[in-house]
């Protein structure tokens, strides 16, 4: 049974919880899962154990509060503190997968759109020309921005747990919209303000498409083999 099966099973079993227990356990689940430096395997196994335990206690008329106490945050911190860190190799392959998958998709899209614009509408020159150093820097900075953005979102999700009153939906929506706009805006500003560094190279659109396809397909194969994400 791998972690994806455990997550799937957890989703199914969680439906058997009462409304009150579901709220309590759901917050625990989010709070524990959003520790992305910890071993995913350990996290999912302990979450399943806690759920099984709660289900059995529920059948005997006890609540999540009876089982895990009235300070769930402190309890979760106890749990998380004992979970070992994810192995470096696993973390690196996950990052590698993300870069290949994302880079592949961006490259494929850019190549295809460019090709269509050039051949059908006669726009542009059929190639993209950019200074090599600047290009690499732009990609690196944008990746770091993406990482920061994801970490901020995870932190936000984690902080939304164990709240007595839920924040208003439209406030949450506005906040999310504003931070996403800020992130996209910043990512687009990077190439605009990047000075020219290194030799100018020209890459034609078919090369973009080909590179993108290779990157994307290898990320898919890698995921199939290592089951990194669903």
């Amino acid at each position: 049974m791998n972690t994806k099966d455990l997550i799937q099973l957890n989703n199914e079993k969680r439906e058997q919880l009462t409304k009150e227990n579901k709220q309590y356990y759901g917050d625990m689940l989010v709070y524990i899962r959003t520790n992305f430096t910890k071993s995913e395997r350990y996290i999912e196994e302990v979450l399943m154990e806690l759920l099984d335990h709660l289900l059995q206690a529920q059948a005997n008329g006890r609540t999540a509060k009876d089982v895990f106490g009235d300070d769930p945050k402190a309890y979760c911190n106890d749990i998380v503190g004992e979970i070992p860190s994810e192995k470096k190799a696993n973390r690196l392959s996950f990052i590698f997968y993300l870069v290949m998958n994302l880079g592949g998709l961006v490259s494929l899209t850019a190549g295809t759109v460019g090709l269509v614009l050039f051949f059908i509408f006669g726009l542009g020159e059929g190639t993209i020309a950019f200074p090599l150093g600047s290009g690499i820097l732009v990609i690196l900075i944008d990746l770091i921005l993406l990482l920061l953005f994801v970490m901020a979102i995870l932190k936000w999700v984690k902080n939304s747990t164990f709240k007595e009153k839920q924040p208003r939906k439209w406030v949450e929506f506005l906040l999310l919209w504003a931070s996403t706009a800020l992130f996209i805006g910043l990512s687009l500003l990077v190439p605009r303000f990047m000075p020219d560094i290194g030799h100018v190279i020209q890459i034609s659109f078919p090369v973009f498409i080909l590179t993108g396809a290779v990157m994307y397909i290898s990320s898919v194969v890698m995921n199939k083999k290592m089951q990194l994400v669903k």
């Binding site: 350990y42 302990v46 399943m48 806690l50 335990h53 089982v67 106890d78 503190g81 004992e82």
Partner: protein, 111 residues
């Protein structure tokens, strides 16, 4: 009883090792057994951080297995290191139990 103190944590660890050494056990079963022995002040959830720590220290190992009642459960087994650690705990416990009892009784507090 919140198991804040290291002493209580250590004792509970020893008890958990002892129960698992008699028979592979899963979480809920373990808490029922602890309560059956009279440790009913121990909050149920507090066994899980301890089980995680014992796994990390390789004193026990978990395995998903079908239970008698049907669904798959994570059963814990004692490792060789775990057995060694249990022996050490029993040794420490027996050397400290009698003197502590004596001291308390000398002080006039009936047990």
């Amino acid at each position: 009883m919140k198991l804040r103190s290291q002493l209580l944590k250590g004792i509970l660890e020893g008890c958990i090792l002892s129960i698992i050494s008699q028979q592979p056990t899963y979480g809920y079963e373990l808490s029922v057994k602890l309560q059956g022995f009279g440790l009913d002040d121990v909050s149920e959830g507090s066994i899980y951080p301890i089980l995680l720590r014992l796994q990390k220290e390789k004193l026990i190992k978990g395995e998903m297995k079908k239970s008698e009642s049907g669904p798959k459960r994570k059963y814990y087994y004692l490792t060789d290191d775990g057995l060694e650690s249990l022996r050490l705990f029993i040794h420490h416990w027996t050397t400290i139990k009698q003197p502590v009892d004596n001291i308390i009784e000398k002080g006039g507090h009936r047990l």
